[in-house]
């Protein structure tokens, strides 16, 4: 199946180039800047225009992205030359994920029925961290529909400890087999 350019591959390449921790943070912010610039609809139109010579586009990029590292500027030029401006956001996102992965950080989206205070949030973060063996940064959300308990989503994994989930499981156990 034919696919477009994969942001994952670009992010991996950048990740391999930036080895030092200081450099990694620099790259992270640079990538976000690039993403912002390249995905701006007006600017993207100019960059995609075949009427404008590449040298002109490159100098425009250098002006817009003043202050980013020379390698990062190269990346922006490369993406422009290949017409892959659209994936810049994906690269920044994917790079952030790779960075978190290396540093042992995971993001969790925790849904609760009642609002969590700071203490509760720390508690949940610690418990989830123990479970995953990593540092977990918790983002919370409220949803009364889950009745009680909490639902945590970490990456592709879902921990359903809600009362709603348990009631559903119980109903399936009791009713499901006789249907």
């Amino acid at each position: 199946m034919a696919r477009g350019a994969s942001p994952k591959r670009y992010a991996q390449a950048v990740f391999q180039m930036a080895a030092e921790p200081g450099e990694q943070d620099r790259w992270h912010s640079d990538l976000r800047l690039i993403a912002q610039a390249l995905t701006d609809p007006q600017f993207q139109k100019i960059l995609a225009s075949p009427k404008i010579r590449f040298e002109q586009k490159a100098s425009m990029l250098a002006k817009v992205l003043e202050g980013v590292g020379p390698l990062a500027l190269n990346l922006a030029s490369l993406l422009t030359a290949q017409g892959h401006m659209g994936i810049a956001g994906g690269i920044a996102e994917e790079y952030g994920r790779l960075l978190d992965d290396q540093r042992g950080i995971e993001h969790a989206l925790v849904t609760t029925a009642i609002p969590l205070d700071d203490k509760g949030r720390d508690n949940v973060a610690r418990k989830l961290g123990e479970l995953r063996g990593k540092k977990v940064i918790v983002e919370t959300r409220e949803d009364a529909a889950i009745i009680g308990g909490l639902v945590a989503r970490i990456g592709d994994q879902l921990l359903d400890g809600s009362t709603r989930g348990k009631l559903q499981a119980m109903r399936k156990n009791l009713v499901g087999s006789s249907r």
């Binding site: 592709d156 994994q157 879902l158 009362t163």
Partner: protein
């Protein structure tokens, strides 16, 4: 399932005590695209091939394409309740169907859910629909016949238990009838039948079920139906489900027969799924693994060795050809997988030869080893006579006036054999009746009977044997062989009958 009040209370008590004790992490993904029985899901990094997925509305799916960021899945049921953004969960299971004696007499869908309105199924267990076929060590050669009750099949293209015999032919040439005849013929036997209807009209399936019920054949039969209006994923799954139900009986040491009606439509449904999943298309737009689709299914038919219980699963796949083209893609595939084929022709059907079997193109590669001695005794000669007849028949078209007497006799004999091999639908013969009439024909007892009177002569002969000489029929049925003593009795009975029958 519990029915008494006390049981329900105790189950509820147990449930309440255990409420909320276990929380397990499950893999989840998000639906990004849905349509035509296909769902594309983002995430689900932990999904495995063929794993069952659960959608929020309770519908199940099967993960078929595992890609870098997405999973392509088929939906087992209606997909109208699924929308973009829905959360999909992995279940850690693969598709299973209920199995066991409780299914006998029932009509179920591809997931084993009843569709005959007769209440829940009392299954003894469940089995995964996909399984690797038995290996070489656990198999034994085919050695027991499947009695189809069709004279032409039992004598010339015998089917053994554990064999895979393809039934191939154009539309309305009697493919299904051969299978239904075979099921009806097992009414007093020990063979459990599973009829898998794939992509057929619901009215046709209802008709087949009604026929089976009329002849009392449903009590040893399971019907698995994925009709034309059912989701294509179910049509794809149905033969594997039927096969799993048969395997359960095979592993209990019993004999089962599974009919796939038909695999052309199965290939079409798989082609649809594959194209929608954006798998590369090959010849006639079928995907690259369309051969494996059928080979892995038919390989599961087997005769197990005594150490493994000695059970068997016989497969009768059906293929519908277009304008008699047996060299099309799917027909050649399935011909090469099976142990022989019964080829039905429109021309023969229209000229009144029913079953419309083309004896020249039909073969059975292993079944003759499983033939009973009685049938073997008549079948060899029958095949020879018929082959000679076919050769001469081409000449005889230009007139029989100046042919010599031997040739003429061969032609006459051939015509009578052809006449005897004709058989009405849903009227299977027991072995002893098949053997006795074929014996009479190949030994020239009917040579002086006019061809158009052969059917009446045959019926008369059987009636004569039943009323005057029941010992002969019982003897052949019991011994499954024609001893010399029995042969003498049969000859004298024939002589006697010929005196009474007025042409």
């Amino acid at each position: 399932m519990a029915v008494r009040g006390q049981d329900i209370v105790s189950i509820l008590k147990q449930q309440i005590e255990q409420f909320g004790t276990q929380v397990a992490a499950v893999d989840v993904g998000t639906v990004v695209e849905v349509g035509d029985s296909i769902v594309r899901i983002h995430g689900l990094g932990g999904a495995r091939y063929n794993e069952l997925l659960e959608f929020p509305d309770g519908t199940m799916g099967i993960a078929l394409n595992l890609e870098e960021d997405t999973v392509g899945a088929i939906v087992l049921g209606g997909f109208t309740g699924i929308k973009e953004g829905d959360e999909v969960k992995c279940t850690g299971r693969i598709a299973e169907v209920p199995v066991g004696e409780g299914l006998l007499g029932r009509v179920v869908d591809a997931l084993g859910r009843p569709i005959d309105g007769r209440g829940p199924i009392k299954a003894t267990g469940s089995r995964p629909v996909e399984r690797v076929a038995p290996n070489v060590v656990s198999r034994s050669p085919v050695n027991t016949p499947v009695h189809t009750g069709i004279k032409a099949v039992d004598s010339m293209i015998p089917i053994g238990r554990g064999q895979r015999e393809l039934i191939i032919g154009d539309r309305s040439t009697g493919k299904t009838v051969i299978c239904l005849d075979t099921i009806i013929s097992q009414t007093d036997g020990d063979l459990i039948c599973i009829y898998v209807a794939i992509g057929q009209k619901a009215s046709k399936v209802a008709q087949s079920v009604a026929t089976l019920e009329e002849f009392g054949a449903m009590k040893h039969t399971i019907v698995v139906a994925a009709n034309a209006a059912d989701p294509v994923a179910l049509q794809y799954l149905a033969p594997y489900a039927g096969c799993a139900m048969g395997e359960e009986f095979m592993e209990q040491g019993k004999d089962a027969l599974v009919i796939y009606d038909d695999l052309s439509k199965h290939a079409w449904s798989y082609r649809q799924l594959s194209l929608l999943l954006r798998r590369p298309a090959g010849r006639e737009a079928y995907p690259g693994d369309v051969f494996y689709l059928h080979s892995r299914l038919l390989e599961r038919a087997a005769k197990l060795s005594e150490e493994h219980g000695g059970g068997s699963l016989t497969a009768l796949p059906i293929i519908e050809t277009q304008a008699g083209d047996i060299s099309a893609y799917i027909p050649t595939n399935v011909i090469s997988i099976t142990d022989g084929q019964i080829f039905l022709e429109t021309d023969l059907f229209n000229s009144g030869i029913r079953p419309a079997m083309n004896v020249g193109l039909s073969v059975s590669r292993v079944g003759s080893a499983a033939q009973t001695p009685a049938m073997k005794k008549v079948a060899g000669r029958l095949r020879l006579d018929l082959a000679q007849f076919r050769e001469l028949a081409a000449f005889a078209q230009f007139g029989t006036a100046d042919l010599d007497r031997t040739t003429l006799a061969q032609l006459e004999r051939g015509q009578r054999i052809t006449e005897v091999l004709k058989q009405a639908q849903f009227a299977p013969f027991p072995l002893e009746k098949e053997v006795s009439i074929l014996y009479a024909i190949i030994n020239g007892f009917a040579d002086d009977v006019p061809v158009d009177r052969i059917a009446a002569w045959e019926a008369g002969f059987h009636r004569f044997l039943e009323t005057n000489q029941p010992g002969i029929l019982e003897g052949i049925a019991g011994e499954k062989a024609i001893s010399e003593d029995m042969e003498g009795k049969l000859r004298s009975a024939l002589d006697e009958f010929k005196k009474t029958f007025t042409i």
